[in-house]
């Protein structure tokens, strides 16, 4: 087990290395000179301009060759220094921290909800195939797979925020976060619509996934054997079938782990939720590429880790999988 882990982690290093080179290369290919954005606005002569230009280039390390810049950048990242955001002149880490928290809150709620709903629904659909219940959820999940996320969001805003006026259309609470219960209540009101949007969006996929996994298992010989032995149907479904159906579900959980941090640009943008997805959009629009670069590196490391966790998870739930 330990040997396997070590091997996988060592294998990860070149992958991350390649990704970082790719990203850095792309970043360097970008049109637009960040230094030009930093120049003071009231420069009178060309000489003065050149002075500031060169001074900033030197300060940012842009006067060095690209490989040198890359090494310096990787060195900084290793020290968890991700550079400075050019739009608000704060360390990238600070810029990202709060939105990341917000995104995690939003996503963890919706992912938990999606699993809590879709696992029982998926099991019941699979057990009672072609029943009304199954057909309903089949239609629901097909529509859910086909509906654009922004449409769900807009309909929710239209119904609950504009017509019924029950919930805020978006944004964050205006009052100061004083850790009080009143703030928490306020804050959770703002959470409801985005969470619902995200949950509906991911429910479709997970329900289908669980249902298909269950159907596959129920068709297996050992289930027939269990039935012919006269076992209680509940025991068959929950101890024999569901446990085995869990194996593919593990993949889904690991995938959600990335989604947890990934943020959902569309939902966050509709509900003006100050999350990581919106930070990405804003930084791209304002050409704050240091933030973009950091976020993509973060995503890459995160999902490679998730892959690793998924493999380990497989090995843990499925004794047939050998780690080597």
């Amino acid at each position: 087990m330990l040997k396997f882990l070590l091997k996988r982690i060592i294998l990860l290093i070149p992958v991350i290395f390649i990704i970082s080179i790719m990203l850095f290369g792309m970043f360097k290919l970008m049109p637009g000179d960040p230094v030009l954005l930093m120049l003071p606005p009231d420069l009178r002569s060309q000489a003065e301009r050149d002075f500031y230009y060169n001074a900033y280039r030197e300060k940012l390390g842009l006067d060095k060759s690209i490989p040198e810049q890359y090494v310096a950048w990787v060195g900084n990242i290793a020290r968890l220094d991700f550079g400075t955001s050019i739009t608000n002149n704060r360390p990238v880490r600070e810029v990202i921290a709060r939105p990341l928290q917000n995104s995690i809150v939003l996503n963890s709620f919706s992912i938990i909800l999606a699993f809590v709903i879709s696992i029982p629904v998926g099991i019941k659909s699979a057990v009672k195939r072609h029943s009304f219940f199954d057909s309903f959820w089949q239609v629901f999940s097909l529509v859910g797979l086909s509906v654009p996320v922004f449409f769900i969001g807009l309909i929710l805003i239209f119904t609950f925020a504009i017509q019924l006026r029950w919930l805020p259309a978006g944004g964050m609470p205006r009052m100061q976060d004083d850790g009080s219960f009143a703030y928490f209540l306020q804050w959770s009101r703002y959470l409801i619509l985005p969470i619902t949007t995200l949950t509906i969006g991911s429910l479709a996929g997970t329900t289908r996934y669980v249902r298909n996994a269950m159907i596959e298992i129920i068709g297996k010989d050992y289930i027939r054997t269990a039935r012919s032995k006269g076992l209680n149907e509940k025991v068959i479904i929950y101890t024999h079938a569901f446990r085995n159906a869990l194996i593919p579900v593990v993949t889904l959980v690991a995938g959600s782990l990335v989604a947890l941090f990934g943020g959902s640009a569309i939902t966050e943008s509709i509900f003006t939720w100050n999350g990581i997805g919106r930070v990405l959009i804003d930084s791209l629009n304002s050409r704050d590429y240091m933030v973009v670069l950091t976020m993509n590196i973060f995503y890459a490391v995160l999902s490679l880790t998730a892959n690793l966790i998924m493999d380990i998870g497989y090995a843990l739930v499925d004794p047939r999988v050998k780690l080597n």
């Binding site: 792309m26 970008m30 086909s146 449409f151 990934g262 959009i281 993509n296 890459a300």
Partner: protein, 627 residues
């Protein structure tokens, strides 16, 4: 079976297909007895079974019809309804779906028509009994005539873009409609003036209102900050008779029958010829479109100046100065971008821009029996001798209009063309890459497999949408419109292949171990041929299903990307970018057609594709038949 009566394979397939079709209608009861075992076996070839299973699935057929419908709507529509980037009229912005802009009430006609005026989406009619009738699309509650106006006897009406003025027989002035610049109300100063002076002419521009009194004085109120219309020069004040209003300026007719210009400087419409300014030609009426002016002299001839594009100054040949037998005119009317004139022969002439059919004068008005014409914006009305009212021009937008006054119907068609094409090409690219990489990795194995799958892992390790957004921002920065759309296709294609590649690889790994591959190899067949001829056909089902399902996903991705502003950008429409403006609460609340329609189009298409994909998968999966 002897060689001679064995049918050729192609014919065999054909006839058995015919039999299958036939058996659909006869429930397979025909021919059943006459078949040999071999024929019975031959009928159910795998591909035929798939087609049969697929056709049996009602949902899949619904999906297929949905796709066909959308393809006809989008691609057929694109062919029939050309897309003009420059189309759209500001005056038509945010109009709800409607087709009743010209549907005047019958009551108006029966009472006798005194006057008709139009705003950007509505018209107001005044009948001979002094009653007001309104019709068209309601904006700023314009169609609701105030009670006090209903109670009064009205003698004169006028309309701005979103407001209406009405003058009663007692000389009282009423106004309603859009009041954001107070153009839709009568200020105290104006009421005070009307205690002494009487209105001889009145009207409205885009956001202002004006009256000219019997003392020859002009008073303007409303949104005049940018054009200074409320400050009337003293040389004009006191000798004015009537006026024609454009969006930010006015053309004034003076009592010496010359004209003058008042309003924003430097406009094309301000370039009035000298002979009209100095009164060497006596004029009886002046009217203004946006950039072109028109005047009618006392001899019934037309003079024009200003912008000459869009045929705005192409006075019909028959009535132009070059024709010695030309007819004179009784009345002229200016629309936004066209002119309508009533000849002394009782015929109606129209020229200028024809985007909304405002030049399509009905044949009944060409028979010398027209007595009056009324034109504003893009709506036209004419009264015949027998009191009949005829209308032509814009009827409305069947699916509404967007914030630039562009027709949603046209944009939906052309947006769909782009969205569906981008999705399709992206899927083709990703399928090609996925199959190729999957095949190579699966067949060659070892380090090739390891390398390619590592690569797939790198590509798929990024969250999909953020990666697409980042790539789009990075790679399309300086591209033109079409290159940009092409780049979006490529981006979507090159980031969505790993899933299929893994699937194909897995399948190949399983197929590779089978005996027929071993046999093929043992016969010394080249590995390239083994892959393409022997292995690929076994995974083709998988590829087709994956293509269908990822097409649905691709449609959604493009829509999401464009929605966020990182995909197809305006002026090129796409279903996604049509929704970009819908993020503002007022759009969600008031202009529902602007977000519901494109979103429904995406939903409908993606759902149809998903239904077909699901149907295909079930048709190809032998286990799905066990019921």
């Amino acid at each position: 079976m002897s060689n001679s009566n064995k049918p050729k394979p192609i014919l065999n397939a054909f006839s058995s297909f015919g039999r299958t079709i036939l058996s659909l209608f006869t429930f397979g009861s025909m021919n059943r007895t006459s078949r040999s075992v071999l024929e019975e076996e031959a009928i159910t070839s795998p591909s035929k079974t798939i087609v049969k299973n697929f056709l049996r699935n009602k949902l899949a057929i619904v999906g297929l019809s949905g796709i066909v419908l959308m393809v006809i709507f989008v691609f057929g529509g694109s062919y029939l309804v050309p897309f003009d980037v420059l189309s759209g009229e500001w005056a038509h912005k945010n109009l709800p779906p409607s087709n009743n802009m010209l549907k005047f009430p019958d009551e108006l006609r029966t009472q006798g028509i005194e006057q008709i005026v139009s705003g950007r989406s509505f018209s107001v009619g005044l009948d001979k009994s002094g009653k007001i009738h309104t019709w068209g699309i309601d904006v700023s509650e314009i169609l609701t005539v105030p009670e006090e106006v209903k109670a009064a006897t009205i003698v004169k009406i006028a309309a701005g873009d979103e407001h209406v003025l009405a003058l009663s027989s007692t000389g009282k002035l009423f106004a309603w409609g859009n009041n954001s610049f107070e153009q839709g109300s009568v200020p105290m100063s104006i009421s005070n003036i009307l205690m002494i002076e009487n209105v001889v002419d009145m009207g409205g521009g885009d956001i202002f209102s004006y009256i000219i009194t019997d003392k020859g004085r002009l008073y303007v109120w409303g949104g005049t900050l940018s054009n200074g219309l409320d400050i009337v020069p003293t040389r004009l004040q006191g000798n004015l008779v009537s006026a024609g209003a454009s969006t930010v300026s006015m053309l004034l007719l003076k009592d010496d029958q010359s004209i003058d210009y008042h309003g924003a400087r430097g406009t094309q419409i301000s370039e009035i010829p000298a002979y009209l300014l100095n009164g060497s030609v006596k004029l009886q009426k002046v009217e203004a479109s946006i950039y072109t002016g028109i005047a009618l002299d006392t001899n019934g001839f037309i003079h024009q100046w200003g912008f000459s594009g869009n045929g705005m100054r192409n006075i019909p040949e028959k009535v132009s100065f070059n024709d010695p037998n030309r007819i004179s005119f009784v009345d002229i009317q200016a629309g936004r971008r066209h002119f309508v004139a009533l000849g002394s022969d009782g015929n109606v002439y129209a020229w200028g821009d024809n985007e909304f059919g405002q030049l399509k004068v009905p044949a009944s008005l060409q028979q010398g029996k027209t007595v009056a014409i009324y034109t504003d914006f893009f709506q036209n009305y004419a009264v015949l001798e027998d009191g009949e009212l005829v209308s032509w021009g814009i009827k409305g937008f069947i699916l509404g209009s967007d914030e630039n006054g562009k027709d949603m119907f046209t944009r939906l068609i052309h947006g769909g063309r782009i969205t569906m094409t981008v999705g399709a090409v992206a899927v083709l690219i990703s399928t090609f890459l996925g199959v190729l990489i999957g095949l190579i990795a699966g067949f060659y194995g070892k380090w090739v497999d390891n390398l390619l799958m590592r690569f797939a892992e790198i590509v798929s390790s990024f969250p999909f949408l953020p990666l697409a957004i980042t790539l789009s921002a990075f790679l399309t920065g300086q591209l033109g419109e079409n290159q940009r759309i092409l780049m979006i296709m490529v981006i979507l294609g090159i980031i969505s292949w790993p899933g299929l590649a893994r699937l194909v690889r897995g399948q190949i790994l399983a197929e590779r171990e089978k005996e027929f591959v071993l046999a093929a190899r043992a016969l010394g067949i080249k590995s390239k041929i083994v892959i393409i001829r022997h292995i690929l056909p076994n995974v083709i089902n998988l590829i087709i299903v994956s293509m269908t399902l990822s097409y649905a996903g691709s449609l959604l991705t493009e829509a999401g990307l464009s929605f966020l502003g990182f995909g197809v950008k305006p002026p090129s429409p796409s279903w996604g970018n049509m929704l970009t403006g819908a993020q503002r609460p007022e759009v969600i609340q008031f202009y529902w057609w602007r977000w519901i329609l494109p979103a429904l189009a995406v939903l409908f298409t993606a759902l149809s594709v998903n239904l077909v994909g699901d149907g295909l998968r079930e048709a190809m999966d032998p286990r799905a038949n066990e019921k």
